[in-house]
Every structure is written in C-alpha cells, then in structure tokens.
Subunit: 444 residues, 2 copies
C-alpha cells in the first residue's frame, strides 16, 4: 500500500448486467473491470498513463471494481495475450489507444483476433470520417479509411475526433464486454460521457450516478474524513471518496438515482449538509476551486484585490491570474522578495524593517496596507515567510505570516508554522492567504 486515500465503496448487490441481450454478469456479483492501455510510448517511459486513473475513477463512481491496469506495446501478439488474460478475469475491459490510422494502431486487429472474427468495412463510418475531415478543411489520407474497419459484430460509435470507437462482447470463455476508445484524453472523455457511461450503468445494474466535488482548504484529510464519513454513511444512495491535492482536499460525493436530474437533485441536500459541517472549509463546489470562487465573489461585489508577496514570490497573484476573466478583479501588486523592495515598491518604513525583521507580523501588515494604498484596491493580501531550505533571522523553515487589508482600511494579520518543503510551504501559504479573503467575502 502506498498512501491510499480512497475509502471502500458499499456495492449494492446489483441486478444482472445485460448488454445487447447477453448476460455478462450474474445478479449479486460485483462488476469487475480492467483498463488496457495501448502504446509503446507508455512502455518507453515517455508518457504516464493518466487515462487509467481517469477511467478508474469514473468506473468506481459507477460501482465497478477495477482489478487491473495493464499496458502493452504496439505488438499484436503481446496485445492479444494481454486481452485474453484480462477477459478471463473481468466482465469489462476498457481499451485506451491504438485506434489511429497507422500500422502501429492495432486495437481493431487485436479485438477481432481475440473474438475470432474478421474486420469489416463500415460505409457509414467511412462517410462520417470523410465528413469530419471536410469540416476541418483537412485532406483525408487513404490510411484514415482503415479507421472505418471494425470487428464484425461490434457496435460502433461515431468519432469524437476522427477515430470511431466500438464495443464488442466476447462470449468465450465467459462473457466479457470490450470497449475500445481512442487514447487522446479529450476524445476518450467525450465518448465516455456520450456512450460509455450509459453502457457501464446497464452492465453494473446501477442507476445513473452524479459526482459532486467539494474543494476543501485549510483542514487535514483525516480531520475532514472524521466529519464527512458519518454524514455519508447515513445515506444509502451515496458513496464517498477523498483526493488529496497540493492545495486542497477534494471530497467526492457520488449519488445514484433513476436519471441524472434526480441524482443531481438528490445530491444537493448532502452537499449542503457536508458544507455546513465543514464550517467554512468548503471553498467551492464542482468546477469552482478556491481561486475561481474568490474572483467570482469579488466580481459580483464589484470589488478589487491587490497582492504583496515575499515568500510566495508572485505565486498568489499568478494563481489568480490563471483564471479566465481575472482582470475584472485582480489589479496587480508587488513581489517584495528583497528587504529593499518592501521599502522601494510599497513604502514600508526602513525603521520598521530594522525593528521587526522582514518576516514578521508588523511588516506583513505594512505590506498589505502599502499594496492597498498604492493600487487603490478594496482588498489587499500580503504574505511573508521562511520557505526554506535555510532559516531567516533565526526563524525556522515554515514560519509564515499573512495579512488582509479590508475595504475600510483595517488590516488583520495571522501567523503560523506551515509544514512541508519549500514547494509545499509556498503553495500552502498562498492557499491560507487567498482563503482568508474568501472567508471575509463570505462574511465568515
């Protein structure tokens, strides 16, 4: 075990899984799946298999147990051997990659070989591919017509890009559903939403699910788990997972219902309950992370913010600037890395710097006030700290201060030892400082 963050799902004993009239999974049996990733670049170490992670999370959210990830080179014998081995052990194999037009693209041949069928030309797919090229005003090479060949008996889906995807049921030795998707992430994701999710729901015998993501900042994972787990345990229709990121903990709530709207509606009371229980720790929900929420709240209030950064060196401002439309609320600020810069750019008195040292509450307060005065913004965020690896003025690594200048001119200052290495201290100090503004904008 490396450092698991997932909690086991409660898998309801599902109805039997029937796809295209063939019973693939008996009633009461959990649905077992595998991800087969195709491409020599994975085995050469040139590309990391993030598709396997993405697919696994989606399958878990639909109540499916993923038992293996397997990667193969562009080699037909190795591919077929791997597909055989997985099909013997699972109800569902998701293949990612190998659907392009070149001779290296072997997924069509491998599935046909495993199923014991021939490839057949599908005129409807050929026409669709030609349409795609025409719409992009690109020349279609004859090789692209290879993409209109799929195993006889397979169910084809029109391409998201130019590669058609397909599903095929193997009946021997035991029934297994094979789903072949392109390896390009956006195409894979789009085909999943358009076709695969519904098929997985049928196979897993589950109703439709939605996943809500709560972005939690300023609290540790075990602390968050202790608060959230009892709330979700009380809801049989919901499951829970945690995902720890550099800047936040994601709480992922999955709720099932008869259709998507009902699942979404059923999820909202739980989202509200968890948000309330985490007492202001939830920075945003679903697509809204901390930076997006802060900029939206500022824009809605018609207010602006500036920054004064020492230890973070511009990272707070850069995190806000990455959000499209940031210019509506982010005016700018100063990076005051050296002692002199604090004076030269933001008018912090030299006597104050001499008295307190550059990493201190009074200096952080003066920086916030200086940034607000210089830029004329409503709010200003300031941070100082010791990011390491060395100490500063005898202060240990991780000693940090952050301050917020309010629209009425008063400045609040906080200080704490933040754990971690240089990169982590910079990331976490930025998060607590941005989150302080979020809390004050929310009136908490």
């Amino acid at each position: 075990l490396n450092d698991a963050t997932g909690t086991p799902e409660r898998i309801a004993a599902p109805e039997p899984g029937v796809v295209g009239g063939i019973t693939i999974r008996a009633a009461g049996q959990p649905t077992r799946a595998a991800v087969l990733s195709v491409g020599s670049e994975l085995l050469l170490g040139d590309l990391t298999d993030t598709n396997a992670t993405w697919i696994s999370r989606r399958l878990k959210e639909q109540g499916v147990e993923v038992v293996h990830h397997l990667a193969v080179r562009d080699d037909l014998a190795e591919f077929v051997s791997a597909l055989d081995w997985l099909a013997e052990r699972t109800h569902l194999v998701i293949i990612g990659g190998g659907l392009g037009p070149t001779s290296d693209d072997l997924t069509r041949e491998a599935v046909a070989s495993t199923a014991g069928v021939e490839l057949e030309h599908r005129e409807d797919l050929a026409e669709e591919i030609a349409r795609r090229f025409a719409a992009m005003d690109r020349h279609m090479a004859p090789a692209n017509l290879k993409q209109a060949m799929i195993p006889a008996g397979a169910d084809a889906w029109p391409p998201a890009g130019t590669a058609p995807a397909f599903g095929m049921t193997l009946t021997s030795p035991t029934p297994t559903r094979i789903i072949a998707l392109p390896g390009v992430p956006w195409e894979l994701h789009q085909l999943w939403d358009d076709h695969v999710a519904a098929e997985v729901a049928a196979l897993a015998g589950r109703r439709v699910t939605v996943t809500r993501i709560l972005h939690v900042v300023g609290r540790g994972e075990s602390d968050v788990a202790a608060v959230v787990e009892p709330l979700v345990d009380a809801r049989p229709e919901a499951t829970l997972a945690f995902l720890a990121k550099a800047h936040e903990i994601q709480v992922r709530l999955t709720v099932s219902a008869d259709d998507r709207e009902a699942a979404f509606a059923a999820s909202q009371p739980l989202v509200d309950e968890v948000t309330a229980a985490l007492a202001g720790g939830v920075a945003g929900v679903d697509d809204e992370d901390l930076e997006t929420v802060v900029l939206r709240m500022l824009t809605e209030a018609g207010q602006t913010v500036s920054t004064a950064e020492s230890a973070t060196g511009g990272d707070i401002s850069a995190r806000l600037a990455r959000i499209p439309g940031a210019s509506r609320a982010l005016v700018g600020g100063a990076v005051v890395y050296a002692m002199d810069a604090k004076h030269d750019l933001l008018d912090v008195p030299t006597s104050l710097l001499d008295e307190h040292g550059s990493v201190s509450g009074p200096i952080t307060e003066a920086l916030a006030a200086g940034a607000r005065a210089r830029t004329g913004t409503d709010w200003a965020i300031a941070v100082t700290g010791v990011a390491g690896p060395g100490t500063v003025d005898g202060l240990p690594v991780g000693s940090c201060f952050w301050a917020l200048a309010h629209p009425d001119g008063h400045v609040e200052v906080h200080g704490q030892r933040i754990p971690g290495d240089r990169t982590q201290v910079i990331a976490r100090l930025g998060t607590v400082a941005i989150d302080l503004l979020r809390r004050r904008l929310a009136g908490t």
Copy 2:
C-alpha cells in the same frame, strides 16, 4: 499509438545475463522486463502510476525492453496470478509498492508464494529497521518487524526509508529475476541508484550507462530532433530520447562505457557538440533548468533582477522564487495586471498607455525601465500579452511582448504571436522572457 516521442534504441546483441550465478537471459537475446505496481489506490483512480514511467525510462536507458506495466490491488490471489503471468513473459519484473508494515502490504507474501518458499525473519534487517526508527526518534510499532521478513533465499537490501527491498530469482518455468522496491518515489529512486542499476547492467549484459539531460527552450521538438539525431547516429556508444514538457524539450543522451566515470567522460564531447549545434537553445544541462541557470549566472556576476508582469500575473517571478537561494539575485517586482497598476506601481505615463494600449512594445519597454528604476536592479524583465480566452484592444489571443532592461539602462523589446491556450501562453511567454536574460548573461 498516442503520440510517441521516443526513438527506438539500437540494442547491441548483449552477452548473456547472469545474476547470482544463474543465467537468466541467453546471449544475443534482448532483455525483456515488466513493471508490477501494487496498491488499491491505483485501481481506485486516487493515484497515477508515475513509478512505472520512471522505471521504464531508466530501464530503456540501460537497453532493457519494457513489455508490460501491470497494476494490482492489495489482494494476494490477484497479485500472485499477475506475477506468474509476467514472470512467464519476461527476464525481469520490478515490483513497486506493498512493502509497508500493514496487513495490506502483500509483496513479501506474493513473491514467496510464487517462488514456493517460506518467509524468513532476518535479524540483520530487524536491527537495521530499529536503528532507522531510533535515528528519527520515532517509536517503532511491532508491525514494523514484519518488514524484516523476506522470502527465503532472497537478497535483501537495507532500506532507504524503513522498508527493506529485495531481489529474488525464480527458476521455473524460465529464470526470472524479481526485484521488489517500496512504492514511495524517493525510496524507490534511491534504492535504484544504490543497488538496482548495477544488477540491471549485469542482467542486460551492457556496460554502465550515464544519461545526460539537455534542457532546450525556444525551439520545437521536430526542429530539435532534426539537429540532434544525425549527431547521435554517428556515435555507436550513444542513444537518444526526447521528452516534451510545458516549458522545455528535454534531450536525453545515454552513453555506455566500462564504468561510470568513463561513461560520463565519453558523454561530455557529445553534450558539447549538441549544445553547439542547437546554437544557444540549450538553457541548462542535467540538474540545471532555465531558472536555476539564470539565478546561478546572476549570482556569479553579483547582479540582480526585477520583474514587471502583466499577462503572466506573477508567474515569472514565482518560477524564479521556487529555486532555493533565489533571494541572492531576485529582488522583486510588480504585477501590473490592470491598466492603472502600470501607472501606480511602475510610473508608466498615462499618456503612453492611452496612445499605445496596454499590450504593446512601448508599454512593455516602459514597464521594464520602470521596474529597474524602482528596484535599483541591474536587469529587469517585463511582459505584456493577450493570454485569452478573450481579445484585448482587438489584438488576437497569443499576441505577446517581452522586454529586458540592461545594466546600462537600455531596453530591448521583442514581440511575437505565441500559440496555445491561456495556460500555455502564460508558460511560454514566461520562458521566452527568462531565456532572453539567460542569453544576454551568456553574451549571446
């Protein structure tokens, strides 16, 4: 095939691979390997398997063909079945994970079961683990003694953290070497360098290799490949791979020789030749990336730099500040996101802003001059641009300017359309601006 960036290695017909007196690979046969990653968190989609990528790249550099990656849950039957399948197909299986002290950690049991041997207590390992805990001033739980149990007949290596690693040769059905390493990346990397690399060299029948990394900025991958490939093709002792990152292209040159010093010495003329051929495009070599090189050159020259950032919003400064010791050369600067901030923080005349618009050569020049004047630094970097998604003053997305104020006060300005989405434009604009300073510090 997704988007391969690796070029095929020329594998010399190697001597037979003998480890511990057992011939694992016949002469002339390429060495085949697999990576087996252990941990339910991988299959739940909570963690992406970056270890498999890292191990594959290292094995490729030693002339080994990686044919499969396989991930398994913390389930003994599934683990043993997977290990059997891989051992039948390869000469070498690298296992990552499952060596911790909990009941979920099954690598010791799985290898013993596959080899048909018992686990045995190794007093030397138990003492070493106890020493590690004492040195960290941490209490050792009785469960940690489980980590001193390894399959009978295995070769144990002392831990990098607290988990001993081991190697074991399976003789049936065909000889296969199993190497079990902890899943924590830094422990895995350290054990690889200390023990595994030499064993792989013996198995692959190759001499010792070193890999040199050239960090190339400001040129496209196909352009770099066209320059570098003929130079490396002319050297039978060297192999080549490319790795495209957001900010740079890595050219990875691997050279083999009888020992590490000889390999390093043999690599240097090739590194020099490639660097010269790329005409200033190589920002740094090995551990030195662009930001590290610029800060080192500034520090050596006793010079300082400041920044004035509009489109990048603080990212240039933050990239420099991430490097330990940045404070020796990075003084600070201004984030001048809004029009007014350019005037308020860096004294750019309002009339100039009205005349040229905020994204323009004259404004970028004035920002660089303003940052240098305000902070008293030797150099100042300034950028403006349209990061998107929307246009600014009718300028299309990607329109960018960057300027460098020199120690003598003169300012050079450049402008170009930079392709990509918002994130890419921000990253690439920062890179060209930092790289301009590097080129001038290098006198080119």
